[in-house]
């Protein structure tokens, strides 16, 4: 299967690869997927004043589309408020990267990673975790 140019670009030049201090209370970490399934995504956000995401980092074990989805997600997250970040839908990623149907779940994984990072941040700061609707996979 041929990949779209955007996937290839994110894949070759992944944005925001790296690790934030997961013990900091300003950092939320989401770890989703499982090695046995062939995909593991770790996405981290750093939240500043007014609930604005000041930094985002990822590392992903998975196919090219999963890597590109998480790279794109970190790009989108920076500068957004938590509420804005929560509204990122996996289909936005699918559209932006022109992912074919078999690769939709790679974007779902990225959405899950965002939500799970936000929840980690919320719980750390004494807020309730947001109940996630079970995404389509």
């Amino acid at each position: 299967m041929a990949y779209s140019e955007k996937v290839i670009d994110h894949y070759n030049n992944p944005r925001n690869v790296g690790t934030l201090n997961k013990d900091s209370k300003f950092v939320g970490t989401g770890l989703v997927g499982a090695p046995e399934c062939g995909d593991v995504m770790r996405l981290q956000i750093e939240v500043g004043e007014d609930n604005v995401i000041t930094d985002a980092k990822f590392k992903t074990f998975g196919c090219g589309s999963a890597i590109a989805s998480s790279s794109l997600a970190t790009e989108w997250l920076k500068g957004k408020t938590i509420d804005e970040a929560l509204s990122i839908d996996n289909m936005d990623i699918v559209e932006e990267l022109a992912l074919p149907p078999v690769k939709i779940h790679c974007s779902v994984l990225a959405e899950d990673a965002i939500k799970s990072a936000i929840n980690d941040y919320r719980v750390k700061n004494g807020l309730e975790a947001i109940v996630l609707e079970k995404s389509h996979h």
Partner: protein
Amino acid sequence: MKQPIYLDNNATTPLDPRVLEAMLPYFTEKFGNAASRNHAFGWVAEEGVDYAREQVAKLIGCTEKEIIFTSGATEADNLGIKGVFEMYKEKGNHIITAVTEHKAVLDTCKHLEKNGARVTYLGVKEDGLIDLAELEAAMTPETILVSIMYGNNEIGVIQPVKEIAAIAHKHGALFMTDATQAVGKIPVDVNTDGIDLMAFSAHKMYGPKGVGVLYVRRKNPRVKVTAQMDGGGHERGMRSGTLNVPGIVGLGKACELCRLEMESESVRLAALRDKLETTLNKMEESYVNGNTQHRLPHVANISFKYVEGEGLMMAMSDLAVSSGSACTSASLEPSYVLKSLGLSDDLAHSSIRYGLGRFTTEAEIDQAIEVTQKAVNHLRELSPLWEMFKEGIDLSKIEWAEH
């Protein structure tokens, strides 16, 4: 676009130009039907087929009359297994095969199970070889056929064919082997090996696609298979259909070249493969899959732990290779062959198969090594699992979010 380096010769091989040259006249002036008995067009086509049959026979040590031309190994597997089941069902309904077989064998057996066959699927040891004691124990008076492949398409391991044949024969069963990956690459002789039926294909040995062979023994014992297609009774009644003359001529030429060049070519390929494998195996956390002693000379299957195969292949777009990985979330399973070796799913997801061939050069292997090393390192930089491994975190202790 620059052509990637082709290292997927287990999937298919390029056509040797000498084979193409032999085939060409049979598309044009020598277009006759080999079954036309009454004019020169037919005779010329038949001569071409006869010469090809002779070449095939020489390569595998049988007589011309024991060769049934088919459309490929898939058809030959179907014809051999279904044909034996139907022909010998008075005698019994039990078939023994192995879990690492090609789908052409496994799915044929599954089909027969719906028609009253009892099939035993032998597991394999960690190195990919079957356990002969297990085979022996599985034999029953109803066993009519043991079908175990010669060389495996994913990991290249060579089964102890001679010993398997002896066990089958001791219990009065026939022995069939899918030798698609072995014929033309290593010496295969139906008599020394004790083979009663054997399937193989031209496009894995530098011949054309869409043509293959079912070898059917005619003496000691005389084996028969029930035809699976009705028609003009070609190929001694076992496989009807006008012969694919250019394809068969190409197959014949391919067999001739393999026979003449095998000895030196297998040494050359093994040296290149070993160079590739030893160098890549020096990388941290890389594992060679399958038995390395009993193995085809041109195959290497390596897992690079903590990187995912499909992602890895994308980083190696300069190489045409294949991976045992398939994301389970995409409703795909990682390679059943690798899993049957007892490989954990994450190692199966991290595997790359390199299949070398006649046109592989040392410069290409050097480049493949470099590209692989670079890609693995790049992806490990991106891999959360690699980071955890480096921090000494035990991945098996983490509770992964199910999905």
